[in-house]
Amino acid sequence: MPMFRARVRMEILRELVGVVSTLVPEMKLMVSKEGVEVKAVDPSHVAMLVAKLKKDAFEEFQGDATEIGLDLEKVREVLALARPGDVLDLTYDAGKGKLVVSVGKLSRVMSVVDPAGISQPKVPSVNPTAKVVLKIDELRQGIRGSESISDHVTLSLDQDTFTLHSEGENDQVNLKIGKEALTLLDAKEPVKSMYPLDFFSNMVKSITSADEVTMALGTQYPLKLDFTLAGGRGDAQFLLAPRVEDTD
């Protein structure tokens, strides 16, 4: 019987669950000796996620190669019982198909979902040409500004500037950040793509521990959004397909 037993700070598990929840209600947790990994694609195949937590992101970690299907709502219910800084204890009983999650004196025995029923995405090899690293707070502000006026945003990069632009019927929002205020800007030629705001916004809002994100984009091309989890002891990448507006 494969085994999985781990102790993890609630903030770390909560962020993983939050990030995955932006796309799907259930996740397949792929456990290995090195840590855990989750891949998810939303039903419309517009957005995708690969997230990894290394074993040193956990207080304690013992795992054999196995897959555990989890209903994220149930995990959120247990997390809601934990206080900041609490450490959760996870024990998987493969024989009974149960995951026991304990926090303090309380433990919840959770039936798992058949992992075969959770679709596993083929991650496309997407290679955008331009890249920017920026403060997530600035990105959040641009998203907040856009939400009331449109359901999509345009991201563009040129040699000196990152721009987030959103346009409604009458109003516009522009967030412009010059090279000097960015951690990194690498755009040999200008690129520009439009993305659905609901996905983009939920993705960015789900990031709770990283200070910076890396965005790679092209023209009418998928977005790659990279960030760290658990203070660098894990990482995650979202992919988001573009929206193509034509003139008619």
Binding site: P25, V41, D42, P43, S44, H45, V46, A47, M48, G117, P121, K122, P124, V126, P196, Q220, Y221, P222, L239, A241, P242, R243, V244, E245, D246, D248
Partner: protein
């Protein structure tokens, strides 16, 4: 998620040919000139125009008064069976039986499932000839009982029409209630005394009523699984005979219809989301009672949208200048807020979810409805549920590309395809949103 706007753009356009504007309404309803969707959004429920009573209803009430008056205080006839639970003053509401002006089998008067294919006048006739006896109750009296409550609840689970005798405090007055949630009603009068002789109850409903431990949700779902019609389930639900002991209440007819449509479609969709995805566009169309229905299945996962367009001169869009469009949509996991367009959204969603279970596929469903002025009366949510159900019974036309869909919309509707596209979340999404698979 809700969108309401003018057609086609912000500026007023000249009236469409063949439709005479009614300038008197523009003057009598403040704000309507500036916002032609106001009446459509309000539907007399919110009095957005600021008048104490709905001007449109007055117009129809006047029409009602021309019908022959019913002079008597004593009534005997049968109940289809049918009951009414009002919503004004909730939790203190009016409840009462629906009474037909004849004896014997009047089932058809309150069975919208059987109305598809019948002419408009006949359908309006069923409901407007039913007299509503009303008595005030608090909704929680559904459990504490009393003679009238018990008799009404018996009517609510009756299998066939039942003979009644009613005594009113004054003769029934005719007042047409216009609502998109409930079918039109006829006269009403305060009930003084009510006797009913129910010979046969629906055994399935009786059993559900006797279960004091199942929640109303469970009760409703089980009845549906036993093929009890939505009308019967909704009638029992509104009479407060389902649910756990201590939780049973009268539910206003309007609310109960939408609550049942919402609940049942959610249950169906839990299963639909597990089904294999449809791989092509399928189109069903239907024309009935002044409505044109364009029922489109999109390839892929479950998602849903419903848009209604009211032609100038129809009830909720009386100014006669512009088409008013209103729509709502939801993604794969459903929605958490009430759809602004109201009960029709949920009624069509129920019909759609039933269809997907039948064909054992999940797909996107887009319901487009263009209402023309020959629909002189609002007919109730049943009109949407039953016509979408009926429309989806046909043989679908399979369309290879989105361009084909585009062309079919152009041919089928008066409203230009570009306007539908601008209103529709999921059609726009299909046209503009790329999938990651496109980049593999």
């Amino acid at each position: 998620m809700s969108e309401a706007s003018l057609v086609p753009g912000r500026k007023a356009l000249p009236p469409l040919p063949g439709v005479a504007p009614d300038p008197s309404l523009i003057w009598t309803i403040p704000g309507l000139r500036e916002d032609p969707t106001m009446c459509l959004r309000c539907r007399s429920a919110q009095l957005l125009c600021g008048k104490p009573v709905c001007p449109l209803l007055i117009r129809y009430n006047a029409l009602g008064k021309t019908l022959p008056m019913l002079g008597q205080k004593d009534w005997d006839g049968s109940t289809p069976p049918g009951i009414f639970v009002g919503r004004i003053g909730y939790p203190y509401v009016n409840v009462g039986p629906l009474l037909a002006p004849e004896h014997g089998d009047t089932l058809l008067y309150d069975t919208p499932e059987s109305w598809v294919g019948r002419p408009l006048q006949e359908i309006v006739g069923y409901r407007s000839s039913l007299v509503r006896g009303v008595a005030p109750v608090k909704v929680t009296e559904a459990e504490s009982g009393g003679k009238l409550v018990e008799e009404l609840q018996l009517v609510s689970i009756a299998e066939e029409s039942a003979e009644t005798e009613a005594h009113f405090r004054r003769p029934p007055r005719i007042r047409l209630e216009l609502s998109d949630e409930a079918p039109p009603f006829g006269a009403s009068a305060p009930l003084e005394d009510f006797e009913v002789e129910v010979r046969k109850v629906d055994a399935r409903l009786e059993k559900a009523t006797g279960d004091l431990h199942a929640t109303a949700r469970v009760g409703v779902t089980e009845l549906y699984d036993k093929d009890v019609s939505v009308t019967r389930i909704q009638r029992a639900f509104s009479a407060g005979v389902l649910g756990r002991r201590g939780h049973r209440k009268f539910v206003p007819t309007r609310w109960s219809i939408t609550a049942v449509d919402d609940l049942l479609s959610k249950e169906n969709l839990e299963r639909v989301r597990q089904l294999p995805e449809l791989s092509e566009f399928q189109l069903y169309t239907m024309k009935a009672l002044g409505d044109r229905w364009f029922l489109l299945l999109l390839p892929g996962y479950w998602r849903y949208e419903s848009i209604e367009a009211w032609y100038p001169g129809t009830l909720w869009n009386p100014t006669g200048e512009q088409v008013a469009m209103l729509g709502d949509w939801e993604g794969n996991q459903g929605r958490t807020t009430y759809a602004g367009m109201g009960g029709c959204y949920y009624a069509a969603r129920l019909a759609a979810s039933e269809h997907l279970e039948r064909i054992q596929r999940q797909a996107g469903v887009v319901v487009l409805r263009e209402t023309h002025p020959d629909q002189v009366m609002p007919l109730g949510v049943w009109n949407v549920r039953e016509h979408v159900r009926a429309g989806l019974q046909g043989t679908p036309e399979k369309l290879a590309t989105f361009e084909d869909v585009f062309r079919r919309i152009s041919c089928f509707f008066e409203i230009p395809v570009g306007r539908w596209l601008r209103q529709s979340h999921w059609l726009r999404d299909w046209k503009h949103q790329r999938r990651l698979d496109d980049f593999v």
